[in-house]
């Protein structure tokens, strides 16, 4: 109970009684409002029923007596939880019994004894406080459930569907904590995007990005990729995590081919408006660490390690229209795709050159396997 915040309604037709009661309540750090009869009391309760923590109610009063007032309070769903203490003289004890049967919490004998007043008021306020806590806790729980549902909805919009599902799954915490496994990383971005964005109006740039993201986003989902992030024209997608995929490399390459095809349609439209943009992809497969990356307040589900860096460097090295595979990726899909051997490529930051191939397209006859 926080007595400093409690508000009492004192209902008595005697101003002397109201004054004495208000004074005693004040010494308990309880603020008192006064009503001279039941009608005035109900007006105050009707206007601010939620605000009152306790009602001290006289029985004999003009206009509306204590019985009728009590019956109205206990019959009102918005008010019935407020404890009512009857104020009664010794002769009225029979009446008090009736009031308690009607829902009054307790009674206070007249003339008032401060110790009894304090004990009964505090007991009633504690009961009310408990009730308030229960109501509050139920409301908070409902709010929490609503929030979780909303967050799930939001997650499925902001995160890739796999990560959204993972976050709300039972094994989610374990996977989020970080784990190592073989995975395929795909980096792609637009060629000549920077000069384009410098020359074009911002609205044009955003329009191009929106069309590009919408198209590529659809393909990522279609192929079961996990989108780690968009950064302007760049995207990083990985496969085989959090959902395991036997054919993760093949999925990655098929996605890249589909992206390249769709990109040609998009870029043909842009070319008519004078924008010359290209598209390149780098794919690498190998062990990586996956899980929650970031800091409290802003976490991503991500992939880190040499494999990621290799894919990023291959993407940088790719010319427009090229899909470059690391040796690991190539080995996994050998025979499925038509490739062009580019020999050993010296990638930035790597001490040894890497044998690289460029994917030209599906090998004729392997199209049947294109599950997508």
């Amino acid at each position: 109970m926080s007595p400093g915040q409690a508000l009492a309604l004192v209902v008595d037709d005697s101003a002397v009684n109201r004054k004495v009661l208000a004074r005693h309540l004040a010494s308990l750090a309880i603020e008192a409002r006064e009503a001279a009869n039941g009608r005035e009391a109900l007006e105050l309760l009707g206007a601010d029923g939620e605000g009152f923590d306790i009602v001290l109610l006289d029985i004999e009063m003009p206009e509306l007596d204590g019985y009728e007032t009590l019956a109205t309070i206990k019959g009102d769903a918005a008010l019935r939880h407020i404890p009512v203490i009857m104020i009664s003289s010794v002769e009225e004890l029979d009446s008090v019994v009736r009031c308690i049967e009607m829902g009054a919490t307790d009674y206070l004998p007249k003339p008032f004894n401060p110790a009894i007043l304090e004990a009964r008021v505090r007991a009633s306020l504690a009961g009310k406080h408990l009730h308030d806590l229960e109501v509050e806790s139920a409301a908070r729980q409902a709010e929490l459930l609503k929030t979780i549902e909303r967050q799930k909805d939001e997650l499925s919009r902001f995160l890739s569907p796999q990560v959204a599902a993972l976050v709300s799954s039972a094994e989610g915490e374990q996977l989020l904590a970080g784990h190592r496994r073989i995975a395929t990383s795909v980096f792609c971005d637009l060629r000549d995007f920077t000069p384009f964005s410098e020359a074009a109006d911002p609205e044009e740039v955003l329009g191009v990005l929106r069309a590009y993201h919408a198209m590529m986003g659809g393909l990522i989902v279609e192929h079961g990729g996990t989108l780690e992030h968009f950064a302007g024209d760049g995207m990083m997608v990985f496969f085989n995590d959090p959902v395991l995929q036997d054919d993760h490399v093949e999925r990655a390459v098929r996605m890249a081919l589909a992206m390249r095809d769709r990109f040609e349609v998009l870029s043909a439209g842009w070319a008519k408006r004078g924008y010359r943009l290209g598209f390149g992809v780098g794919i690498a497969t190998g062990y990586a660490t996956l899980g929650r990356i970031g800091f409290e307040g802003r976490y991503d589900y991500g992939m880190t390690g040499t494999t990621v860096i290799t894919a990023a460097r291959l993407s940088s090295a790719a010319r427009s229209g090229q899909i470059l595979l690391s040796p690991g990726s190539h080995a996994a899909v050998e025979g499925l795709f038509e490739v062009e051997d580019l020999g050993d490529l010296q990638l930035k930051g790597f001490s040894h050159p890497i044998a690289t191939v460029n994917v030209l397209g599906l090998r004729s006859g392997s199209a049947v396997a294109a599950a997508g």
Binding site: S14, A15, V16, S27, K110
Partner: protein, 121 residues
């Protein structure tokens, strides 16, 4: 009506009240003033009802006077009003006039006692 042991003003009740509100003389004076104002109105109603022999109308002013008088230690007036309230409830108009007159003189005596106790300006 037995009024023995019912002093016009019971100093013990007043002292208890005074102590319970933290010995606030100003509040005590204010309280007595409220009592006098409220009591005058109730006394008028009580006398009018007695004069008319109206048992129903005398109950409420008698009840309130009984209760507030007891709170402030005006035990004799409280006792008289208790008897009047009972008579009213039981529809016994016979003694109302006599009792009301006793209430009136006791009311005057009570006011004088409050003044004597330094609680009336």
């Amino acid at each position: 009506m037995n009024l023995e042991g019912a002093p016009v003003l019971d100093a013990a009740v007043l002292d208890e009240l005074r102590a319970s509100i933290g010995d606030d003389q100003e509040f005590m004076v204010e309280l007595v003033e409220t009592y006098v104002t409220e009591g005058s109105t109730n006394m008028d109603s009580l006398l009018a009802a007695a004069a008319a022999g109206d048992c129903a109308a005398i109950v409420r002013p008698a009840h309130t006077l009984k209760s507030t008088s007891a709170s402030l230690g005006a035990m004799r007036l409280s006792a008289i009003c208790r008897a009047i309230e009972a008579a009213g409830r039981e529809s016994r108009p016979e003694t109302l006039g006599e009792d009301a007159e006793l209430a009136r003189t006791t009311w005057e005596a009570t006011l004088a006692a409050f003044a004597e106790a330094g609680l009336r300006a």
